[in-house]
Symmetry: C2
Subunit: 239 residues, 2 copies
Amino acid sequence: MTPTSSPSEPVQSAAASESGATAPIVVSAGARAILDAAAAAFAKASFDSVSIADIASQAGVCKANIFHHFKSKEALYLEVMREACKGHAEFAEALLADPTLSSVDKLRRLIEYDFRTLFGNEERSHLILREILDTGCRTGRTLVEPVFLRNFTAVVGLIRQGQQRAEFTTDVDPAVLAMMVGGAAMMLFQNRCSDGLLAGVDGSADPMACANTVFRTVLGGIAARGSSPATPSRLREIP
Amino acid sequence: MTPTSSPSEPVQSAAASESGATAPIVVSAGARAILDAAAAAFAKASFDSVSIADIASQAGVCKANIFHHFKSKEALYLEVMREACKGHAEFAEALLADPTLSSVDKLRRLIEYDFRTLFGNEERSHLILREILDTGCRTGRTLVEPVFLRNFTAVVGLIRQGQQRAEFTTDVDPAVLAMMVGGAAMMLFQNRCSDGLLAGVDGSADPMACANTVFRTVLGGIAARGSSPATPSRLREIP
DNA sequence: TAACTGACTGATCGAACGGTCAGTACCGTA
DNA sequence: TACGGTACTGACCGTTCGATCAGTCAGTTA
């Protein structure tokens, strides 16, 4: 590909102008193309599996140009992760602070939001999911960890709030429940995107239907109405 | 390290002799050391991040020796995954066929089994979790996929059985529920093993306590007793 | 003793990797 | 016209990768 028609025009992050919520930092059009190509590549494969040459080829620039815009491969990866993590925990925190909604409603909205964001931007979701699992790459972990910690803390707070308001039972650890919901969303997303791992699963077609199922199950359980409460002998009170 | 004291003695899989359930195939002591080292390495990092030199060093053999026992790096990886997947779906299938247990009991035992196996062999769990997420490596996927499909099918069948017996409500998609439970287990495991991602989470310390929480939540929900059934307007009947 | 087999090694291969560098083209400013 | 700065390139560097090779050694068989 030719060196582009009009060089050096510092547009305001091509991706940001259409999504509206990402990348306030001004980057050149060339750097933008590199970041986009890198995000796509790192979402599809692990850090070591992606080569600078691949990214350069995909971005339509030469290899050396990548090192002109970014200090190293790790720095590029870090920048990609920084953009992916932007504005992720705000929703849960705002929801927690909302005085008008019931905890049940908050929980439903949270689950719906989780599924919408997860399925709404598959590339970003894959990026973050991969980062969570890949314990080998500590550089990115330092970036993703606080994001997830903030989000997780808000969700736990939301559940605890519901327990204090007597909307939820107190015999469930909020942290474990938060991980249940998060894990369910991740699993359903991963299955959908791995095109065929568990292909043919009925309910996984519609993300919002899944979200609804998760919400109703967490709230009401699956025990047939009228049956005795589940194994009271094994109940464990949370202090 | 020296070339080992007594060469060429085809022992019956050192790991198998103590665990009792794995690797009926006879492999030489040298190959065994390579497989163990490779399993540990592939559990810690992605396929491309692990080098043959690393594995050789860890196994105490030279690089070329690995290619004497295994055709290629991919073949070695495939063999590692084959051992890791061995005997994974049998429990769920046996549980499904059991005529003596109630569906509620079956569900509890299944969740307990999931957590026990997941937390009981961290190396194997990491191996499989990584494989599920890493869509780039299709060679192993062909191996893991049927394993998970079998297990998943059995779990779905178990839930459907409970619905037919009127032990579970019929307004929940068994497939989505199965993924909920699996996702919860994975999330809790991953959090535990990533030493610090969500460190300080109360309930994640004891796997069996988590299993119990998941079971009770799935069965009974978290809605305070006496409250109205969860959002009946959004109920969706499964045909 | 001789022939054969399998386990194992050091040396080495070409390819691909991340990264560097001198040089070119284009810009706004003076 | 000259200059400094930015974007960008092809050629190249040293290293590491997976894989190959000829050859050594120990044990088994004839």
